[in-house]
Each structure stands twice: as C-alpha cells, then as structure tokens.
C-alpha cells in the first residue's frame, strides 16, 4: 500500500474536521476524494503531506510514517495545495529550478526543461508566474509537484476555477502521469471522478461514507431503472403498467412516458407497445448517476 491511513483525526478547537478515518490506496491507483465543501478533504491532504499534524491517528506514505519520517515522506510526495499558491514575482524557470534545488536533483536544468515540456509550458516559461493566466499557473503548480518524480501525487482541487478546455488539458496531464503513480485528487466535480479515477472515496463531515471502485459505486446505486419512452401518439398508461416488472409508469409530456422498473425492460416495453400501432420514436435508459449517489450519501438527512 503506498498510502495508508489509520484512525486519522483532526480537531480544530471545538470542530472535528476529520473524524477517525481509515483508508488504503494501492500502487498506481488514481483515487478521487469527493465531498462537499468543508467535508475535510483538504485537511486530510494537509495531514498526509505533513503540513498539519493530526490530533490522533497515523498515516503512511510510500512506506514512511508521516510523523516519524516527515522528510522521507515529503521527498516521495508531490503536492499541489488548494488555490495553487505560487511566488508571483518569480520567473517560471527560476521557480522550478528553486524546487529542483530543494530536492537536490541531478541535472537540474535538464529536468526542469523536461517538465516544462511535459506540462505544456514551453511557450510561457520565460515569463513571471504573475503574468500567466490561471490555466498556465495551474500547470506551474503541477510542474512543481511532478518535478522530482514523486511516487505519490496529492492534488487538492487541481481543476477548480479553470475553463472547460483547460480542465481537459490538466486532466490529460494528470492521466498521463497517473499511469504509474499513485494519485489522490480532491474535487467536487463528479465527471472528473468518472473521467480520471479508478477509485472514489466520498467524505462528508469528516467521515468516509463510501470507499469503492467507481464502477461498483455506480452499480450499487442501480436499485431502480428508469426508462423514458417517446411515442408518436397517445397510449393508455395501463398498458405500460401491466408489463411484468414495471413498478410505476407516468406521463411526463406529450406522448412521453416515464417507466420505473427494477431491471432494463426496454425489450418487453417494445413488444407491449407494438400491438397498439404507436411508433416508438425514442427509448432511453436513465442510469442513476454518480451525482445522485453523491447527493444521497452526503445528504444530512440520510446520515446519523
């Protein structure tokens, strides 16, 4: 396990930010840390990277205990903090050389040149960081995190505040590097988890409410299936309701029906509708999205 967290807890004054969480992340996995604002995602990441000491509990990164061996942990971790803090009055290359210097990398110049190319900063590296647009600043933040070829990447909301094109570009960079590294990234965008992650950890009010493969989580949400049927003329609702397996059917628009059932009944629906002479223009399977699962898991009324 490259990352292992046992009973990690953080209390700020009266407020319990992270409440005894446990999880493990294996080599090469990309894990999405999902949760509403203030759920404890950033706090957990700050404890993993050794910035905040935990109130209690332990964590290991790349085989080293974060509290007992902070320097080794920091050597093996690449961290992009929330809001991507940067020295704005420093040149891109100068900043990356500074970071390379801290890690005492051999062939600093070459490594920096290499990373500038990889994150797509070639056109901008002669500028001061303060002159860059947000998307390019994010690349500088990523470059800084990737520079020393860390085993574990911790990215706190790496795509927040970027435009759709930049989001795709940054995701591609993360995906490229995530091939052989362990990546933990926090986000509250569901698509990001679907697009990038193998596993997802959903955290709410400092507690882990789900920790599973993205696919499993989606499957588990499928307690019911909804089929939207669009016809060219009216039919009787009763007809749909009488198909075996249908839980409920209702009219939701002109010649449009919503059928709720336990399994995918599209075939049966077709044969039920065909004898009436109505033509099926469209039949659509509505999957319960990760968003719904997220809402259900983090809804305050459902927890406790």
């Amino acid at each position: 396990m490259t990352v292992k967290v046992i009973n990690l807890k953080k209390v700020f004054g009266e407020q319990v930010a992270v409440n005894s969480i446990n999880f493990e992340i294996g080599q090469g996995e990309i894990v999405g840390f999902l949760g509403p604002n203030g759920a404890g995602k950033s706090t957990t990441m700050k404890m993993l990277t050794g910035f905040l000491p935990p109130t209690s509990g332990e964590s290991w990164v790349a085989g080293y205990n974060v509290e007992q061996n902070p320097l080794e942990v920091k050597r093996n971790i690449g961290y992009l903090p929330e809001h991507n803090p940067l020295y704005l009055d420093v040149y891109v290359k100068e900043y990356l050389l500074f970071c390379a210097g801290i890690f005492k990398l051999n062939k600093k110049e070459e490594r920096v040149k290499d990373i500038i190319e990889k994150v797509g900063l070639t056109a901008e590296y002669k500028k001061k960081i303060g002159q860059l647009s947000k998307g390019y600043r994010q690349r500088v933040g990523l470059a800084q995190a990737l520079l020393h070829d860390p085993k574990v990447l911790v990215l706190d909301e790496p795509t927040s505040g970027l435009d759709p094109n930049q989001i795709v570009e940054i995701r591609n960079v993360i995906k490229e590097f995530g091939k052989d590294k362990t990546v933990i990234l926090s986000t509250h965008i569901m698509q990001e988890v679907l697009a990038l992650c193998d596993k997802v950890i959903i955290i709410n009010k400092g507690v882990i409410v789900a920790n599973d493969k993205v696919q499993n989580l989606q499957d588990s949400g499928k307690t019911k299936t909804i089929i939207i049927v669009q016809l060219n003329k009216e039919i009787e609702l009763k007809l749909l309701q009488e198909v075996p397996g249908v839980l409920r059917a209702k009219r939701i628009g002109t010649n449009k029906y919503e059928v709720e059932c336990r399994t995918d009944l599209r075939e049966q629906l077709f044969f039920a509708i065909a004898p009436t002479g109505a033509a099926i223009i469209n039949m659509q399977l509505e999957q319960q999205s990760l968003e719904d699962i997220f809402k259900a898991l983090t809804n305050p009324n459902l927890i406790k």
């Binding site: 700020f12 700050k46 990277t49 050794g50 910035f51 905040l52 320097l71 080794e72 920091k74 050597r75 971790i77 961290y79 903090p81 809001h83 803090p85 940067l86 020295y87 704005l88 009055d89 420093v90 100068e94 500074f98 970071c99 210097g101 801290i102 890690f103 800084q144």
Partner: protein, 240 residues
C-alpha cells in the same frame, strides 16, 4: 538551506529591495557623517563615531523592512504550505532566510568602507585612525544586524500582515537595542543596573566597539540570535 537562501537573495535583488536599502543607508549615514551639522570635519576627530552612533537606529528601520515579508507574505500567499511540504526542515527554512538577511546587512555595510578609507587618508598623519576599534565597530554592527534579522524573522512569523510584522519588529528591535539601558537607569534597579543593561544589545555593542572581542559579548550575540530564530521555528511548527 542553500536553495531557500538563494531564493531569498534573488528576491531581494529582483524586487529592488536590496538596492533601495543600500542606497537609503548610504544617503542617511553619508549626510550625517559628512554634510549635516556636527559632521566629521567639524568635529575634527579621525574616527567614524557618527556612522557607528547612527547605524544601529537606521538598521532598526531598514532591517525591519527587509525581513517583514519573509514569513508574513508566504503565509498570506499560501506558499508557506509549499515550502513546508518540501523536504526541508523548519530550521533549514528559518536559517536560509536568516543568512539571506545577514548577507544583505553585510552588503549594506560594505560601501561604508569607503568612509573608512577616506578618514584613513585624511588623518594627520595619514593612517591616524584607531583601526582596531573601527573593525570592532563593524563586527559589532554585523552582530547587531544579526539580532535584528532574527527579531524581524520572528515578528514576520507571528502574522500574515507585513505591516504588522514591520511594526512588531521595529518595536522588538528598539526594546532589545536601547530599552534595557533606559530601564537600568530607573532608580529601582540601582543595585542591579549593570545586569539589566547587560540584557540589551547596546551594552555589548559599546563593549565590542572598543576593539576588544570579548567572548561574553560574542556568546551574547550568538545566543540572542539563536533564541529568536528558535522562537521563529517554534512559531512555524505550531501551525494549529
């Protein structure tokens, strides 16, 4: 430590802070030493007493200004989080910044060696200046600067507002430099006035200015510097 040190030095020079500090120090001490009333020519002694009298006061202002951003800005911008999560110990961060400040102080003093040379040449006969006392004074000023830098770093670590850091630093430097001299003169302390004044920087500065390197003074300068650097490190570590 080397990376942090170099980054700070680059920061001083790329933001013009270094040049401004050097020029301001030269203008103030230059005017006081050579131009204003009671200048060296009027007094007629071949020494640099005017420079060494004013420099500690000017340093309070200048060194507070060069150190005020060191931690407060990093806190405000969030870059402290980057720095702390790099494989650096807190002491390496603190010492990197301390040495950068100290080097800048030395660079500020460097051009005043021209004053020294001028007096040396103007002496009658040429070279009639107490060289030992002058070098002692320079060393004293460097050590005084060293304490100021450590006080400035500590003040900066206390807040994320650099103006507040500046004022705290100004106040602490003033207290350390001169307040204990004044407190020692209060009648309550009549028996122990020597020991009270001994806490302040001025007593040791005056002692080292005679050109005698007393180990007790050296120990005072080193331990006071280390004390404030240790406070800074403790403050850095206490992030919630």
């Amino acid at each position: 430590m080397k990376s942090v040190f170099l980054k700070e030095i680059r920061g001083f020079f790329s933001s013009l802070i270094a040049y401004i500090v050097i020029i301001v120090f030269l203008i103030i001490t230059g005017l006081l030493t050579w131009v204003f009333k009671n200048n060296t020519f009027e007094l007629g002694y071949s020494n640099l007493d005017i420079l060494f009298f004013w420099a500690p006061a000017v340093f309070i202002f200048l060194i507070s200004a060069i150190t005020m951003r060191s931690f407060s800005d990093e806190k405000k911008a969030g870059t402290l989080e980057i720095l702390i999560t790099k494989p650096l110990t807190d002491f390496q961060i603190v010492f990197g910044k301390y040495f950068a400040g100290l080097v800048l102080v030395a660079l500020v003093l460097l051009p005043t060696l021209i004053y020294f040379y001028t007096i040396y040449q103007l002496g009658d006969p040429v070279g009639n200046i107490d060289t030992g006392a002058t070098w002692g004074s320079y060393i004293g000023l460097l050590w005084l600067g060293s304490i100021y830098v450590s006080i400035g770093l500590f003040s900066s670590s206390l807040t994320d507002n650099s103006i507040v850091a500046f004022m705290l630093s100004f106040f602490f430097c003033l207290v350390m430099y001169i307040a204990f001299d004044l407190i020692g003169e209060v009648s309550w302390f009549s028996g122990i006035d020597y020991y009270v004044q001994w806490i302040g920087i001025n007593a040791h500065y005056q002692s080292i200015r005679r050109g005698v390197l007393d180990t007790r003074d050296l120990i005072y300068f080193i331990s006071t510097t280390l004390m404030f650097l240790w406070f800074t490190k403790a403050k850095l570590e206490s992030r919630k």
